[in-house]
């Protein structure tokens, strides 16, 4: 439980753009006590994400809308909608801007500026062969999202525009407005379209199981965490994929159906009729960006996004001006949120404010009052309309329940709803709340803050879980049981105690690679003492094997300067050859045990950063180990780092991609290998233009602006040959010479290559981290990478508060993304570390000293070793700051001396009775 309310501003930050990046940056800054002016040109916050049906893998409505609501409610955020920055001048620490909005122009001052203007969808009318404007049944992917939205025109079951019938055969055309210099001047990849097309196809099949879905694509770029698996699942679900770029859409004579002609992978010409064609439109920088960048003097890239140095993610060339999300290039939501955190952290580091939070508001004492229960129904828009029909009779029933004084429906699409709720609760004099929704956990924070705003102890609420219920009238009985029970339970609730616990304002960073070092530096720059623990005897980790970032910047130079900074920083204590062997505590109060130089010592810290990195596999294919000139990419790089001219005289080089990645046993994409191979190929060709360089790939995944280097490589004569999993290249050694045979799918014939050396782009696998995951109560995903908090777009947060991740330990990624994560971690951590005290307690176990027989059962039971015997008092004691509230000791205690007032045995017994239909009033 954290509490942040700040009376005095630490600094003013202007955030331009109220999409998912802007919202997150604003919330991160506001939580640290900065004042934020958030400027959004649309009438509501949310940006592109709010227009989407779902985000991988879940419903999006609760994600953007939640944050928009929080922004509007937050006392530190001024949200300017329908507004834009008309003028801006000044410099870091003293920007003067004029915000133009519906009520005229307002001058504001800002210490720092964050550009988060996001992206706009490409207008497909530029492709006249796709007849977007001319044919009704050719729609853009953004339009399909709207058709698929449960709150959209057709309750989530798309219908085709021409006749209102559900589509039976739908085609997606990829790269509309991307990867093309002819029609649309977009030599870059938009990064998100492959994934959203898959998602849309899967969703369409969910809504219309009979519908056939086909995606026409060039390279399927599912390089994000978990995306490759989604891709495989989509295929299993019957989404058809055809590797062919469609040249034109033709209308079938006499109908509104659409004809596509293409050559299939076997070289056969196909003519197919579809009844709906979706153009997967690419991304364009926001129209506002160019103008604002000009006013600020911010340099843009060739693609008209903000130009960013790969080693300084989220920074612009202008001091005090930061950037995140779509303004830096095509980004998915995940990366946008990471960058939002990083930009917020950098802005915060720039405008260092005074640490500490103010007084925590007191809650109204309701002990003398008779229970007065408010019931709020909050229906996820994805609920079926049939369910909707049950609501009015249900509300009527709820009104008749004893103690209920207030029943209200909350419109989740109205982002001001929670703000009004607290006023309504206060006005109604409610002292207990029942909140019903299909997102009870996601809304918990909002509900609790609304209650606090209304002066109510947040523990005085009970929820009704509307998930996985039916929608037929039969459901009414169960609904009545659920609501009667929840109201009954709410009436029984007593306010719980919250204690204020001081926060330990220091951090432990585990892993001394680039991500860990950068996180340590970022925290240290915000005056947080950091202990950096590295298993090996030197800092740097994986980065020692990386030669350059994708634009060619030297990683080794950067690594060296980073190591120097870390080792010289007065706030950072570096422990090499050291290992964390145990930990206890909770957010704000951790005690970890580190083994260093054969000795164990305890380190107290408020947060922990897990940046344990990754390795690449040793393959058992492609004749690896049988010839000195067959390298793993890391060994190849190492050799080049040591001797840049090492391969200069080679006549022929072969790069083999996806070695161990995207295979059944390791079903993820290692994300950085395509860029690595393309970058290396360019560098080899530059070194020796006569060298024949081949890249054997499965999909070229040079996402975003990296597509430019793919183009550059082709221009330089690098030859790309695609292969499938069932037709891998054959590597053999003949008379000491390497030989590679691969079938070119375009020519349909095998080609034999005689390389001087081969670089195998082997899969990235996470460092063993099961122990650390257990120490800090976070989990690993099935591939062994850390699993980020699943609930609410928190890409660098663990499931447990106070634990953060950065770098390869989360998933394979390039340097610049690791660095952005490190900064995001610092920003997220500062939310906690800026506070002097934290509210702890609430739903915790409490010992009744009179009943305690000192049997030690609780001491043995507790998974976190929290209870101990307070010798002078002679009974068990459970620290409310440490108790995680699992309730295990409560059930185990033979003397029933431990109680759990959030959910007591009496509560459970009464709930069971009530749920089974008994009237227990």
């Amino acid at each position: 439980m954290t509490e942040t309310k700040e009376k005095k501003n630490k600094g003013n930050v202007l955030v331009v753009g109220g999409g998912v990046a802007g919202l997150n940056a604003a919330l991160d800054l506001a939580a640290q006590g900065y004042h934020v002016d958030l400027v959004e040109k649309e009438s509501d916050l949310g940006g592109t994400v709010a227009k989407l049906h779902r985000l991988y893998p879940l419903c999006s409505c609760c994600k953007a809308a939640n944050r928009a609501t929080l922004c509007k409610m937050h006392p530190n955020i001024r949200a300017w909608t329908k507004s834009s920055v008309a003028r801006i001048s000044g410099q870091a620490g003293a920007f003067q801007a004029v915000i133009a909005g519906p009520t005229g122009e307002t001058p504001i001052e800002a210490d720092a500026v964050i550009l988060a203007m996001g992206v706009e969808p490409f207008n497909p009318q530029a492709y006249d062969t796709y007849a977007y404007a001319a044919y009704e049944n050719v729609i853009s992917s953004i339009e399909l999202e709207w058709l698929q939205k449960p709150v959209g025109p057709f309750q989530g079951v798309p219908k085709r525009p021409s006749d209102g019938q559900p589509p039976k055969k739908v085609a997606w055309l990829q790269c509309v407005g991307s990867r093309e210099i002819n029609k649309c001047d977009a030599p870059y990849c938009s990064s998100v379209c492959c994934m959203y097309a898959l998602k849309e196809a899967v969703q369409l099949k969910d809504a219309l199981p009979e519908a056939e879905t086909t995606i026409f694509f060039m390279d399927m770029r599912t390089h994000g965490k978990g995306y490759e698996k989604y891709f495989e699942d989509a295929k299993q679900k019957g989404v058809r994929l055809v590797r062919s770029r469609i040249h034109s859409i033709e209308k079938a004579a006499g109908t509104e159906d659409l004809v596509l002609e293409y050559v299939d992978e076997n070289g056969a010409k196909q003519v197919e009729t579809f009844d709906l064609v979706v153009l997967s439109v690419g991304l364009r920088p926001s129209a506002e960006l160019e103008e604002l960048a000009k006013m600020l003097g911010v340099t843009l890239s060739e693609d008209h996004y903000v130009a960013v140095d790969n080693f300084k993610p989220c920074e612009t060339n202008v001091a005090g001006v930061f950037v995140c999300g779509g303004a830096t290039g095509p980004r998915d939501v995940h990366q946008s949120v990471v960058e939002a955190g990083a930009a917020a952290a950098k802005a915060a580091a720039w405008t260092k404010g005074v640490s500490g939070n103010g007084a925590v508001a007191e809650f109204r004492d309701v002990s003398g009052e008779a229970p007065s229960v408010g019931v709020v129904l909050s229906l996820c828009p994805s609920k079926l309309p049939e369910f909707e029909a049950l609501i009015d009779p249900l509300a009527a029933f709820v009104k008749t329940l004893p103690g209920v004084t207030f029943v209200e429906r909350l419109d989740l699409l109205d982002s001001a709803a929670f703000g009004r709720l607290s006023q309504r609760l206060q006005a109604a004099g409610v002292n207990r709340l029942v909140y019903a929704s299909c997102t009870p956990l996601m809304h918990q924070e909002l509900v609790e803050s609304a209650m606090k705003e209304a002066g109510l102890n947040p523990s005085l609420y009970e929820f009704v879980d509307l998930r996985a219920l039916g929608s037929t009238p039969v459901e009414m009985n169960r609904l009545q049981d659920l609501f009667r029970t929840a109201v009954l339970k709410a009436r029984m609730l007593e306010p719980l105690n919250y204690a204020k616990v001081p926060v330990k304002k220091s951090a432990l960073v585990i892993g001394g690679g680039l991500a860990g070092m950068q996180a340590a530096l970022a925290l240290a720059e915000m005056d947080v003492p950091v202990t950096l623990v590295e298993k090996k005897d030197r800092l740097g980790g994986h980065a020692h094997k990386v030669r350059s970032a994708w634009k060619g910047e030297s990683v080794q130079d950067f690594l060296k300067s980073t190591i120097d900074k870390v080792t010289q920083h007065p706030k950072i204590t570096v422990l090499t050859s050291a290992e964390v062997v145990g930990a206890r505590g909770f957010a704000g109060n951790y005690i970890s045990t580190v083994r260093h130089n054969g000795q164990k010592k305890e380190i107290e810290h408020g947060v922990v950063v897990l940046a344990t990195g990754a390795h690449s596999i040793k393959p058992d294919e492609y004749a690896y180990g049988k010839h000195p000139e067959i390298y793993r990419w890391s060994d190849f790089t190492k050799k080049l780092i040591d001797d840049p001219a090492a391969f200069k005289s080679a006549q022929c080089a072969v790069f083999i991609q996806c070695v161990g990645s995207r295979e059944p046993q390791r079903p993820y994409c290692s994300r950085l290998c395509c860029t690595f191979a393309v970058r290396s190929a360019i560098d080899l060709k530059t070194l020796n233009p006569d060298m024949d360089v081949y890249v054997l790939y499965r999909e070229v995944r040079t996402f975003g602006e990296r597509e430019r280097i793919y183009k550059e490589a082709r221009e330089k004569g690098v030859f790309f040959i695609r292969f499938d999993l069932d037709s891998k290249p054959q590597v053999s050694i003949e008379d000491g010479r390497l030989k590679v045979v691969v079938t070119d799918p375009i020519l349909g014939r095998p080609l034999a290559l005689s390389p001087d050396f081969i670089s195998l782009q082997t899969a990235i696998i996470p460092a063993e981290a099961a122990d650390l995951a257990a120490f800090y109560k976070v989990s690993l995903n099935e591939d062994g990478f850390f699993a980020e908090s699943p609930a609410k777009m928190r890409p660098v947060d663990g499931e447990t508060e106070g634990v953060f991740f950065a770098g390869l330990a989360l998933a394979p990624k390039p340097v610049e993304e690791s660095l952005a994560e490190a900064w995001a971690v610092a920003g997220r951590a500062m939310r906690l570390l800026r506070q002097d005290v934290m509210l702890v307690g609430g739903a915790v176990a409490e010992v009744d000293p009179d009943k305690c027989a000192v049997c030690l059962t609780c001491v043995r039971t507790c998974p976190f070793h929290i209870p101990f015997i307070d010798s002078p008092q002679g009974h068990a004691f459970i620290d409310p700051g440490l108790c995680q509230g699992c309730g295990m000791c409560v059930s185990e205690c033979p003397g029933k001396a431990i109680s759990y007032r959030r959910l007591s045995d009496d509560h459970i017994a009464v709930m069971a009775l009530s749920l089974l239909g008994s009237d227990v009033n």
Binding site: R179, E180, I246, V263, D690, R714, G717, L747, A752
Partner: protein, 206 residues
């Protein structure tokens, strides 16, 4: 066509793409095999190699493989591929380049390739008097290609003669050619392109 299962040892010759660029200004190496050219080509039904395959062979420096392909002569220069290529590769221009190369290197013969015979007769006709005289051109094409023999045997010759008569009756087959006055200039143009003029002489001799 040769056996495509045969393992070809690639010896890419980057000079080939360099030469293409020098002679035609076209950069095929930008191709990323989206196959839009082939999908949109109206004449693939009559091709032995698809346009994207032609590009691919050129990239590999295997120009020899496609110089004698049917595809380059089947291409009607409708420019659909060139217009739509996302990498702005002038694919139709590559077809021209290949035709020009086949012609320059003497790899095609009028008797074996009717399209070539026609183009050649046409160019000869321009060289003769600066303008094309269609009536004469058609006759010369028939003779130089030997197309009349085939047409005689399948009976289409009579059809064509009937068509010619019909056009004549409609005043569309004049009997006398017109030429330009400045034949000196014309000769200069044809001489500037030595390969072509040499060929022209040869063919008039044959």
């Amino acid at each position: 066509m040769e056996d495509r299962a045969e393992v070809v040892f690639l010896e890419p010759d980057y000079d080939v793409t360099g030469k293409i660029r020098a002679l035609s200004g076209i950069s095929p190496e930008l191709c990323y095999q989206c196959r839009k050219c082939t999908s949109g080509c109206p004449l693939t039904f009559a091709m032995d190699y698809y346009p994207d395959q032609i590009v691919r062979y050129l990239l590999l420096g295997l120009e020899e493989k496609v110089l004698s392909s049917a595809t380059v002569w089947v291409c009607s220069a409708c420019e659909t591929c060139t217009t739509r290529c996302p990498n702005e590769i002038d694919i139709a221009g590559l077809m021209d380049y290949l035709k020009q190369q086949a012609h320059a290197r003497g790899l095609v013969r009028p008797k074996e390739n009717l399209s070539y015979a026609f183009h050649k007769a046409f160019l000869d006709d321009i060289g003769r008097r600066g303008r094309v005289f269609e009536t004469g051109l058609l006759q010369r094409y028939m003779l130089s290609s030997g197309a009349w023999k085939a047409k005689l045997s399948d009976g289409t010759l009579w059809e064509e003669i009937r068509l010619g008569l019909a056009l004549f009756r409609r005043g569309r087959l004049p009997l006398r050619p017109r030429g330009i006055r400045d034949t000196h200039e014309l000769r200069r143009l044809f001489e500037k392109a030595p390969v072509s003029s040499e060929n022209t002489t040869q063919s008039s001799a044959s």
